[in-house]
Amino acid sequence: MAFVEIDGLIKRYGTLSIFEGFDLNMGSTDRLVLIGPSGCGKSTLLRCMMGLEDIAGGTIRLGDDDYIDGAPNGKMKLNRQVQKEVGMVFQHYTLFPHLSVLGNLCLAPVRSRGIKKSEARDKALGLLERFGLADRANFYPSQLSGGQKQRVAIARALMLDPKLMLFDEVTSALDPELVVEVENTMMELAEAGMPMMIVTHDMHFARNIATQVVFQERGKVIEAAPPKDLFGNPQQDRTRDFLRNVLHIEG
């Protein structure tokens, strides 16, 4: 049985239909990289996975549990226990600016999980140490570079021991020279065996980190394959067109 099982997902924004029966599976050692033209629903898919979107139909399972059971008219069922096992990092505004780095890391564990302050603190310092951010513990987000902010956001998600991590274009807003440090942090996480779903425009990074690349277009998976196959020998015309375009732009 797959680790993540998306079955018949239906997602609409008002009358705008994004998914009408979308299926996708992911194994527990997989790192899926989602690629596809802008506006094809990559962010929406991750937001559905995080339980941030109301879905009109279909089911999502995670591990052994029923996670989301879509239904029309806001009757979707969401298992909050499972939601807590998913972590997500966004493109923008990821950190809470009124809290220090340490405050950002400890907020959810202390306030929502009831973990002792001292315990959370030790864990936070451990994570910051691991990511080479120990000297930034008492800084405020406004005092960090964009790359550091995103790495802190990753550490903050890890504080809650997620079973699955979602990354939505976490390097897209960064200056080019800051992209690598964030990608390295994600690579480290990958090597530690964290299952991930990643949306990125960086095809080089996608090739390095993915176990499986999923090309989606107009609410459907067009092609899914390991990176060397999908990039080296795409089977579908649309995949080829898309890759030609993005690789051409990248130069």
């Binding site: 937001r47 995080m50 997500m88 505004y93 809470f96 600016p97 907020l107 929502s112 999980r113 406004s142």
Partner: protein
């Protein structure tokens, strides 16, 4: 102009002016306490989106924002006792009118600040497993308060200046004492200039501080 300045009487009356200043400061303090607390409650009510709550609050805010503070004050002093058969002191009425006026303005400051917090923080909070209440208490409100702080201080110092109006309902504040001494001594220029300088001496440092606070909050919340 060959006016001969004479500061003798003003010097002599300085303790009396200081007594007036104390009354003014007390009024300002209480009006600010009302304005900060009530304004916050009103802002939360406005954001509740419950029509039964929003309507009366909107009426209250717009009434106080769209009528002169002077008429509000005089209305409280003359009309409230007759309408509600309560006979409170002029000081108390002054405090109430100024406090309600300030609360209306502060409510708008709080509301605008709460609405200015990026929606992305809601998603980030949910992704971290915070529930609605935790999100409001630990994520939205602290940021909103920081964001609103400069406006709240500006409004607060504004009410310090507006409080001079209470002299007209015979509260013995700084303005009242100033006018009294000016008439008694036939020295309006010296006396009223001194009174103006006292108002200035209190307001100016605070308004300077606002600039500083604003710069710091802007920097902190930039993301």
């Amino acid at each position: 102009m060959n006016y001969e300045f004479n500061w003798f009487y003003v010097k002599k009356a300085l303790p009396q002016l200081m007594d007036g200043l104390m009354v003014t400061l007390q009024l300002t303090l209480w009006a600010n306490i009302i304005g900060l607390v009530l304004g916050f409650i009103v802002a939360i009510g406005m954001l509740s989106k419950i029509r039964m709550i929003v309507w009366p609050l909107t009426a209250y805010i717009e009434f106080f924002r769209c009528t002169p503070a002077l008429i509000q004050l005089v209305w409280f002093f003359f009309c409230v006792p007759i309408l509600f058969n309560v006979w409170w002191s002029a000081e108390f009425m002054g405090m109430l009118a100024l406090g309600l006026n300030l609360a209306a303005f502060n409510a708008e400051a709080y509301r605008a600040a709460i609405q200015a917090i990026p929606h992305a923080h809601t998603d980030a909070s949910t992704a971290l497993g915070l529930n609605v209440l935790q999100r409001i208490i630990y994520v939205i409100l602290p940021q909103a308060l920081i964001l609103a702080l400069p406006v709240l201080i500006t409004n607060g110092i504004g009410i310090f200046q507006q409080s001079a109006l209470v002299a007209l309902i015979s509260v013995q504040d700084l303005m009242y004492e100033g006018r009294y001494i000016a008439t008694q001594t036939f020295r309006p220029i010296e006396t009223l200039t001194t009174v103006a300088l006292i108002y200035f001496a209190v307001s100016f440092p605070v308004s300077q501080a606002v600039t500083l606070v604003e710069r710091r909050t802007k920097r902190l919340l930039a993301s």
